[in-house]
Symmetry: C2
Subunit: 248 residues, 2 copies
DNA sequence: CTCCACGGTTGACAATAGTCAATCTTCGAA
DNA sequence: TTCGAAGATTGACTATTGTCAACCGTGGAG
């Protein structure tokens, strides 16, 4: 593991409050590994042996069934995934693949389970993290069930704009087909729907989003903290698409 | 609180392993209350002041946005809800209403937060519970994104049959319009879809489900532990529709 | 530099799902 | 027992979404 990585992990909400000794125990069993783009890190149904911490790159969490596939989340540095499966010692509900070359720290799940039993501060952090993840998926499910696809797209575009500091122009952080899958529609549908959003105040130029009328877009998206977040504590854990990297 | 209720609560996975003293502390601050059918217990966005434990009756958790509404779960005795919001001290993401006359124990969220900080066993139980809830919603989201509505219906009917001991005939535990909302479709759609499922080995007579060809139904539903559950530990927490009450 | 692979877009069409309205059924209150 | 309210079903229609195929544009391998 590289020298700068340890403090980065230590500063994550999940590891921030635990005893130093226990943190060291966890990290002693952990190891870093680099993976090329497009590699399947784990398959759904696999036993949960390691908590994954993304240090570089980005990782897609996806699910599949009967030949169909859908994106559930994208994890970026520094973020963790598959905490719940590790803790329950249960099979992964989602698969993971790298979207680009990625560096990942693997923390043995058994160590994790051992440590939070004797470090209350860590247990509390795990609780907070899991509660955040839970709420994030509930939000996702609410969006899927309550909003039409146009509304989901509009909300997403608006949310990204807010994350980019209310920028009226920014670049999509993920490929459109991935975004489509995350939002629960086909790429064709996303493509067409984006066109029909022009009168609603937003248009796309390649991967660049341009908000031409924020008022109209907001009218359509009707953003709602109970769906779009964030939680009052501002934690950004769990299942969601990442924020944009460069805004203009 | 009634004498038989305390041990019932104590035996829940969430409260089973904590110190007796701490359990007593929690229960001292708690109180029971009965509500008539159809009462809104809390609205989404409200601050999370109490963990709710359903002792009798049944409670629907639902979400709404922009005039639309959808069922997220139904909680039955003895079950808890809104743990995550209590723990994060965050607003409820869902609203709750009684489906029938219900008796509910209310445990102050502040006590809860205080206790798991000093009772590691309880913290571990909370972790297990939250991880279970998280996985339950992930499953629900997977079903919504990966399965068509006919497949969701078929899976649901088959799952309920399994819960009823592989019964080939049982009675739906909830109203059809609620089921439709839970499965992410309109009541009209559910009604029509049910008709088209007859060649697939299942038919309905009012609220009674009759599986005429389990093989065909299974072919359509393609049940999957990673969507339909249960987790290996058999916990039944979190977001799901309840199992049937009487099977034949 | 060329070509190929892949993501994205578009069109035509089919399948699916939602809406609105009317009707039927059921169950509980009076 | 009768009536009325609410859930459930049905029909007709519309809107939305998915599917399949063709085509475009870009960026990387050779």
């Amino acid at each position: 593991m590289r020298p700068h990585e340890l403090p980065e992990i230590r500063h994550l909400p999940l590891f921030r409050d635990m005893l130093q000794a226990n943190f060291e125990t966890l990290m002693q069993g952990a190891y870093a590994q680099s993976f090329p783009a497009g590699l399947e890190l784990m398959r759904q149904g696999d036993p949960a042996d390691f908590l994954h911490v993304v240090m570089e790159g980005q990782v897609e969490l996806f699910a599949h069934w009967g030949g169909r596939e859908c994106t559930m989340a994208v994890v970026r540095p520094v973020g963790t995934f598959i905490l719940a499966a590790c803790i329950k010692d249960a099979p992964y509900l989602m698969a993971a693949r790298t979207l680009e070359r990625s560096r990942i720290i693997l923390v043995p799940a058994s160590d994790l389970r051992a440590v939070f039993r004797r470090d209350t501060e860590f247990a509390v952090s795990v609780i907070q993290e899991l509660a955040g993840c839970y709420r994030a998926v509930v939000r996702h499910a609410k969006g899927l069930k309550l909003r039409t696809s146009r509304e989901r797209i509009a909300s997403y575009l608006l949310r990204q704009s807010v994350l980019a500091g209310n920028a009226n122009s920014y670049v999509l952080p993920v490929e459109k087909r991935l975004l489509a899958s995350y939002l629960g529609m086909t790429p064709e549908n996303l493509s067409r729907a984006l066109k029909t959003l022009e009168p609603d105040g937003v248009k796309l130029n390649g991967t660049r989003v341009i908000i031409t009328d924020r008022r109209k877009l907001t009218d359509l998206a009707r953003p709602d903290r109970l769906i779009d977040g964030p939680d009052p504590d501002g934690s950004n854990s769990g299942v969601s698409l990442p924020q944009v990297r460069d805004a203009t």
